[in-house]
Point group: C2
Chain length 336, copies 2
């Protein structure tokens, strides 16, 4: 709603006032810890190995303000980092953020960004303990996150064994479908399907509880940020193995059929294989552990689908090499 | 040297090739650790509390390519973060970086950026364990760093006690002087003074060893990133105290007299009080500990100068309130 009054901007406030404005959303600090307001945050490490990662989102590259709210951007930034922690089988613990704002960025956007970060952080039990603001010609935001590895240590990409079952959590291609809906302005008033796809794209939920359960079984694990074809390649390359994926076993997002009715020449299975940013987990485990792992994920309301097997041959999806799928993958769709 | 051949750019390589290109500069991983190449880095915490901070530098706001090389930017980004760790009395340990590059950014710049980060990281014994590249319309780089607090725990801004000696390491105003030299293109062929000031601005050395020594005595400590007037205010406000600073005791950088000859109406003491980015330490300690602390810093080749005292009165520098100094401080000089 434009009420005719000037809206305060990032340039009006400046760095220190911005920090004072957003920090309370993320506090108070946990008992005995130092969060925002000193030279650094300070805290003890509870137990286990540290996992440490960072992810950066830049305006017009990783998000567009035409269809992403500040809340969406903040949520997704925390989600992308937490998903990397989940892919190691760990639990998100503490994070810091670096945010560049255009001087004319409205404070309402900054508030929404902080609200989105805080909403998912609180859900995950993650403490956002500090950060830094600067200005720029475009908005960019990066989060660096620490996670606690499980007792079994970090689950690497390199541990896949020949004969392992290859499984994915949830369904695939929803985020890519949602992005198509937004970029091509496919409208469908009152359509739950449309909103479901958009939410998959803008408010992904990292599989944090699932990753910790799967750490009890996983030989190798990765989160699907660049799409199945690309991320599966990271596993097979790091592990020095091949794979056979059954096309019919790959679970497309349930609302992609709706999208295919609206948009000719759209193939749900192809989107499920090449679409990025679903933040589901791809895991390699003993076939004998599959039913137990599946039962425990069922209790979380999350499916675990066996899509193929690790082999000592080439890496293939259906009757095509992984490389062919990668060539038409997410990076093209994403115009990068 | 322009050899007429096209220079490869960030856009030519893309994210994965960029990571593969720069990661070897920072490896191999320490024994038993995971660094670049998986979903996150993973390592054990050696001992003591964690310090966690982040700092962001944006092109044309925090640095200008007209006078900062890629090496300078990478060096200063690590320096700014390490200085925050030093100000808590800690030791830099592990870091991750998030870098946005313009697609047309030359790979030579990326190499230099990585080289600058690696040079100071190696000096400090800091492991740069992972990172993320994206693209943007301007170059921006953020580092998130973990440090190990000393046995005495983190040294906060809030611990200053009435009667404490207020001391600074090294000399002040050199970085601001160097920035003036660069921005106003003050030339002086063969002048060691000019180069000394430029180096103070572009290649600051964080006081990491000094911070760990001072942690044995400090009641409160901060690094001088925004200038003495501003950062002293952070100490007095957080501690709920005042101070008296003697103008004549503040140690200006030794090359500022040369600058004042070249540039009318420049006052070394004023630059020393308001200039930012010296990354010296400001520390509050018992006057009775001063000689021992000073002797130990002398062994490092670093001076420790008593500039004033913590009081229960107002915060003053010379015969003016701190607020008056802040109003003409670094943020104005820096056009922010």
């Amino acid at each position: 709603v434009d009420d005719g009054r000037p809206h305060p901007t990032a340039g009006d406030l400046g760095e220190h006032a911005l920090i004072e404005r957003v920090a309370p959303r993320f506090g108070p600090p946990a008992e005995g810890e130092v969060w925002s307001g000193d030279d650094t945050a300070a805290f003890r490490w509870p137990e286990g190995e540290l996992l440490f990662t960072t992810d950066l989102m830049v305006e017009d590259v990783d998000f567009k303000l035409a269809y992403s709210s500040g809340f969406d951007v903040g949520w997704k930034l925390v989600a992308a980092n937490a998903s990397d922690i989940a892919a190691m089988g760990g639990r998100p613990w503490r994070a810091v953020a670096s945010i560049a704002l255009r001087p004319e960025t409205e404070i309402a956007f900054v508030d929404a960004l902080a609200e989105g970060m805080a909403a998912l952080s609180n859900d995950l039990g993650l403490g956002l303990v500090g950060g830094d603001f600067s200005s720029g010609r475009e908005i960019s935001a990066s989060v660096a996150m620490l996670g606690i590895a499980s007792d079994r240590g970090p689950i690497l990409r390199s541990g896949a064994r020949i004969g392992d079952a290859l499984c994915v959590t949830g369904t695939l291609g929803g985020a890519a479908g949602g992005l198509l809906v937004l970029e091509e302005q496919i409208v469908a008033p009152g359509s739950g399907e449309r909103e479901t796809l958009v939410a998959a794209s803008q408010r992904p939920r990292p599989r944090v509880d699932e990753g910790q359960i799967l750490a009890d079984y996983a030989h190798a694990m990765i989160d699907l940020s660049d799409g199945l074809a690309v991320d599966l390649g990271h596993i097979t390359e790091a592990s020095g193995v091949g794979c056979e994926i059954e096309l019919g076993a790959v679970p497309p997002h349930e609302s992609l059929n709706w999208l295919c009715d609206k948009r000719p020449h759209t193939d749900p299975v192809s989107l499920a294989i090449t679409g990025g940013e679903d933040f589901e987990l791809l895991v390699c485990l003993d076939a004998s552990d599959l039913s137990e792992a599946r039962a425990r994920l069922d209790d979380q309301g999350t499916s675990l689908t066996r899509i193929g097997v690790v082999t000592d041959g080439p890496a293939r999806i259906g009757d095509r090499d992984l490389e062919d799928w990668r060539a038409e993958g997410w990076e093209h769709l994403h115009n990068r």
